[in-house]
């Protein structure tokens, strides 16, 4: 008798905890990491530490914003890192025409790569993971061909300012990231486009039968993801004062996907958590810096990250199981 009561109680508690953990877990984990650092890390409570964290997280954050939309449509974009490399390669190549042309072309390259991804998914009906895997491989290869596989230095002061300037004392990459978050949040909250994204991810047939422009929306989502990756590539180039297509954005897609998932956006689509995504990106970066600044082995950070991903995915499944 008592065994049954306990069993029932436990399943009841789990069914309330799982959604809570899914929606708030990332904030709790972040808070825990902050408290840990306040106690153990020297000079953690300083503006410099905060800015460093924000600057370092910017490329991942930009990519994860685009990925949140893509994942919201039940898709995935593995090519964000390679698109960063492509746009980064475009900057020094076109600086001869002035910085506005170089930046515009870098952005266009990202949008174009995204459009190819989107067309393969929306019109050719190729699975997102395959379509963007092709771009992952081809994109970095192309970037290396453009630059002959070499590291090209960038000296244009306007471009460098994007990574290194501090208007009003705030680092420029942080401003770029905040603007990107606000724009994407506006798209998701206020526009029909945002509704279409959620409807397509939630039930594609229903969305189509409600007259939604399913293909156009999918195309747009991948273009946005490409654009944001291009912005990330430009910021990374500016920080580095160089375009390094072999290394810029390498494996960033994994961090970005992790940030999205840990932030509570399910891989099955139909729901997008932007605040959670931002938090997820910050959490991953904080874990990394914590281990570095305390001289802990990097492998432990990787194991911890893996653990957090498993918990995040598990609580998302919780609804069905409970």
């Amino acid at each position: 008798m008592s065994g049954r009561a306990a069993g029932a109680e436990r399943s009841f508690e789990w069914s309330t905890i799982a959604p809570w953990l899914r929606d708030r877990g990332v904030y709790v984990a972040f808070a825990v990491m902050v408290v840990f650092n306040l106690i153990f890390t020297e000079n953690f409570a300083s503006l410099i530490t905060l800015y460093n964290l924000l600057i370092q997280v910017t490329p991942v954050l930009l990519c994860s914003l685009g990925l949140a939309l893509v994942i919201g449509t039940e898709g995935i974009d593995l090519s964000v890192g390679s698109i960063m490399a492509l746009s980064s390669a475009a900057v020094p190549l076109y600086l001869g025409y002035g910085w506005p042309a170089a930046l515009a072309i870098a952005l266009l390259v990202g949008a174009f790569a995204g459009a190819i991804n989107g067309s393969l998914v929306a019109f050719a009906g190729i699975q997102p993971i395959i379509a963007t895997l092709a771009m992952l491989v081809a994109g970095r290869g192309l970037a290396q061909i453009f630059t002959n596989g070499q590291l090209l230095t960038v000296t244009d002061p306007t471009v460098l300012a994007l990574g290194q300037a501090r208007p009003f004392g705030i680092p420029a990459p942080v401003i770029v990231a905040v603007v990107a978050v606000l724009v994407v949040a506006f798209l998701m909250k206020r526009t029909t486009f945002g509704r279409y994204v959620l409807a397509i991810g939630g039930n594609r047939s229903a969305s189509y039968l409600s007259g939604h422009p399913v293909r156009r929306t999918l195309l747009a989502v991948y273009i946005i993801s490409g654009l944001l990756a291009a912005v990330a590539g430009i910021v990374a180039t500016a920080r580095l004062s160089a375009s390094d297509p072999s290394n810029i954005g390498l494996l960033i897609e994994l961090s970005a996907i992790t940030a999205v998932v840990v932030g509570g956006t399910p891989l099955t689509g139909g729901r997008v958590r932007l605040a959670g995504t931002v938090m997820g990106a910050l959490l991953m970066q904080l874990i990394l810096t914590t281990f570095i600044s305390n001289n802990l082995p990097f492998t432990v950070a990787q194991v911890l990250t893996a653990g957090i991903i498993l918990v995040a995915v598990y609580v998302q499944k919780g609804r069905g199981a409970a």
Binding site: T191, T192, F193, N203, S205, A206, S210, G211, R271
Partner: protein, 521 residues
């Protein structure tokens, strides 16, 4: 029979969900060799009871006795191993495996080398199927069979696992009349073998044909349990609804009005020669404003396919659709919607609701372009629409923010109706709008359709319940194997004539039969 010990018994079963008492002190018994009907409106607690019996939920109170002993199943696997087989509404098998593999899924016969003994499996699967009068190629992949046949395979699989209790959750919802007869043959055989059958269905005719006793649930409570023969249909309906008998009788069998409506002369919708290889063979229909045009036909007759072709959701090889005299682009629901056509799909779950989105977002899904300017959604316009339709259609939800998946089937259907009605459509295509929703919501939807036609909408009404087509329609089209085999209007629209058309109309029997055979492959 009365003295026999029950094979399965629930005593004072209780199950709570946050904010809801889904099962409230429910007791009932299932005896061996008995077909026991479990009925009730949506939200009455039928599904919860089944899930408690099969171990998917653990009860919060009360006990379950199986073969006289108290049991607690921790999972559906445990209850199945104990001998309780469940057949769900949706076929729960693997589409790409062969019929035989599906029948033996998880207990495949092995040969001496420990490998799957395919010839033996095929032979035995064939024997099992033919014992129950099911004709199918056991080597064919399951998904090449009609939905009805797939269902029969699921049943054959369930009963071949030495079951002592078989639970069937609306097993006939996707079966043709002929297949229902086969199913009933199977059920009678199960009864003869001393197996207890718990049978959930919304269809009165079936209950009275096959069931011995009945348990009626309402709002999570058991309101009646006893032999079915002691209850008249009207008494049963009134128990389910909790309404007075007079009230039910007054309403008639359906809630369509009797009065004649004004219908326009010029058709608002004209479909000509819709053709799609092997599916539609030159279908032409038209609907006038203020008219309800019924589509009657057996499963696979092409009713849904015709509706989708009209709406532009399925491609056609040839043919045209005009709305108000203007041709609409084929293959584009958006263009049909713009012209004023609305389409309520048959499969609410997979084609209708967007489960994780709120009631509000589901209602305005189709109207988004109208409720926005330059791509920006107007919250004010949106909330006005949502508030009005939630009130007008009496949608029961905790509020517009509740995820639509948490609503009952009937209320989900109302949300979908609201999605289309807020578009002010000129033509409304309803594909099985009252399917598997409770009696109360069904009556409300029938009334609503009637009043919409009064307001001058052209309505296409598809239903597999002949009664509903007859009482609802001004004209009725009989479809068979993708062709129109007859059109009845006015007093001609009655069940007898429709059935005659569906049975004998169209091509010669031989041709029809061979085509049916081909469809099943």
């Amino acid at each position: 029979m009365e003295r026999q010990n029950p094979i399965l018994e629930v005593r004072r079963g209780t199950k709570r969900f946050p904010g809801v008492l889904a099962l409230d002190d429910v007791s009932f018994e299932l005896k061996p060799g008995e077909v026991h009907a479990l009925v009730g409106e949506n939200g009455a607690g039928k599904s919860t009871l089944i899930k408690v019996l099969t171990g998917l939920y653990s009860p919060d109170g009360g006990e379950i006795l199986y073969d006289g002993e108290e049991v607690r199943f921790g999972s559906p696997g445990e209850s199945q191993a104990a001998g309780i087989s469940t057949i769900y509404q949706e076929v729960n098998l693997i589409p790409l495996l062969s019929v035989a593999q599906n029948v033996f899924l998880g207990r495949e016969p092995r040969n001496r080398l420990g490998l799957m003994d395919v010839p033996r499996m095929n032979r035995e699967a064939g024997e099992i199927l033919s014992r129950y009068g099911i004709e199918a190629d056991v080597t064919a992949p399951l998904n090449t069979l009609s939905l009805g046949l797939q269902q029969m395979v699921a049943i054959a699989r369930a009963v071949s696992i030495e079951a002592r209790v078989v639970i069937m959750d609306e097993p006939t919802s996707s079966l043709e009349a002929r297949e229902v007869e086969t199913l009933f043959g199977v059920i009678r055989q199960l009864r003869g073998d001393g197996i207890g059958v718990l049978y959930v269905s919304h269809r009165m005719e079936e209950l009275y044909e096959i069931c011995d006793s009945v348990t009626v649930l309402r709002d999570g409570q058991m309101v009646h349990s006893g032999p079915l023969a002691d209850l008249s249909r009207l008494e049963l309906v009134s128990l389910m609804l909790g309404r007075e008998l007079d009230e039910v009788r007054e309403g008639g069998a359906t809630s369509f009005g009797e009065a004649e409506r004004e219908t326009g002369r010029e058709p608002i919708l004209e479909a000509k020669n819709l053709t799609r290889h092997t599916v539609l063979h030159g279908i032409s229909v038209d609907v006038k404003p203020g008219e309800i045009l019924g589509f009657a036909g057996l499963l696979g007759a092409g009713r849904t396919e015709t509706a989708k072709a009209i709406f532009g959701a399925d491609p056609v090889d040839s043919g045209s659709v005009k709305v108000g005299g203007k041709k609409i682009r084929s293959g584009s629901p958006a263009s049909a919607i713009k012209a004023g056509v609305a389409f309520l799909p048959e499969d609410r779950k997979s084609e209708g609701i967007i489960p994780d989105l709120s009631v509000r977002e589901n209602i305005v899904a189709a109207a988004l372009p109208k409720l926005s300017r330059a791509g920006l959604v107007s919250d004010k316009a949106q909330d006005e629409v949502v508030e009005r339709f939630m009130k007008d259609l009496d949608i029961k939800a905790s509020g517009p923010d509740q995820p639509v998946r948490e609503l009952s089937g009937g209320n989900q259907q109302k949300v979908l109706l609201a999605r289309w009605l807020c578009m002010n459509p000129r033509v409304l295509i309803l594909d099985e709008p009252t399917r598997s929703i409770d009696v109360g919501a069904k009556a409300e939807i029938q009334k609503l359709v009637d009043s919409l036609a009064h307001d001058g909408l052209g309505v296409v009404f598809i239903s597999s319940e002949l009664e509903e087509v007859v009482e609802g329609s001004d004209r009725a089209v009989a479809l068979k194997d993708g062709s129109v085999v007859g059109m009845l209007s006015g007093d001609e629209v009655n069940e007898g004539r429709l059935m005659a058309l569906l049975a004998e109309g169209g091509s010669s029997d031989e041709a029809a039969e061979s085509r049916e055979g081909a469809d099943e492959r």
